[in-house]
């Protein structure tokens, strides 16, 4: 279900709005970016929030997005980016 990404891979954040504790913010869902780095594997915060152990660990990625692609009304220059730390299960290849 989740891919194994490398820096430079294009990825898209899936669009879903599940109830409960999520750490993928609303504004980035559905947006396309590039893997900037693989950050390692961590227990899943969505499970830790309810007293579970969050295992098995999930891979965390830093994903870089162009601001002009994230916001239709972005006022700054095209070189600006937003980097968001996103877990593997929220990403699909783009």
């Amino acid at each position: 279900m989740s891919g194994d990404y490398s820096p430079g891979d294009k990825v898209r954040v899936i669009v879903t709005h599940p109830p409960g504790h999520r750490r993928t913010p609303f504004y980035i869902r559905g947006k396309t970016g590039v893997i900037e780095r693989r950050c390692g594997a961590f227990p899943n915060p969505e499970e830790l929030a309810y007293g579970f152990d969050g295992l098995p660990r999930k891979t965390l990625y830093r994903v870089r997005f162009n601001q002009k692609e994230v916001w239709s009304n972005y006022e700054g220059p095209a070189v600006d980016t937003v980097d968001v730390d996103i877990f593997e299960h929220w990403l699909k290849p783009a």
């Binding site: 504790h21 609303f26 869902r29 969050g54």
Partner: protein, 112 residues
Amino acid sequence: MSTADEPGRGYHDIGGLDYGAVDPVATDMKPWERLSTAISNALGGAGRNYYVTDETRRTREQMGEPLYSDLDYYERSTQSMKMILVEKDYFTEVELEARMKIIEKRMAEARG
């Protein structure tokens, strides 16, 4: 937990919204705010793990509006810590409110 316009957005999930100009002010923690933070840190120290940060993030997202917007940061932290400790049965709301009344009376008497 979310607005009618954007049903998928929790009230805490505010990236991209507009809450006005930033006031670049930094104030010192009040003593009780430091105490509240210290209690939280103590409960997580020395191999204890009474709760993890993810759990209080979650209770912060569960306290509802208008509480989330009415309270300031340390009040929200205190409220979310209270919520997780009550959830895990370390004390009850009734016990807590009763003790708060006792302390309030004690402090009023001390003020004379």
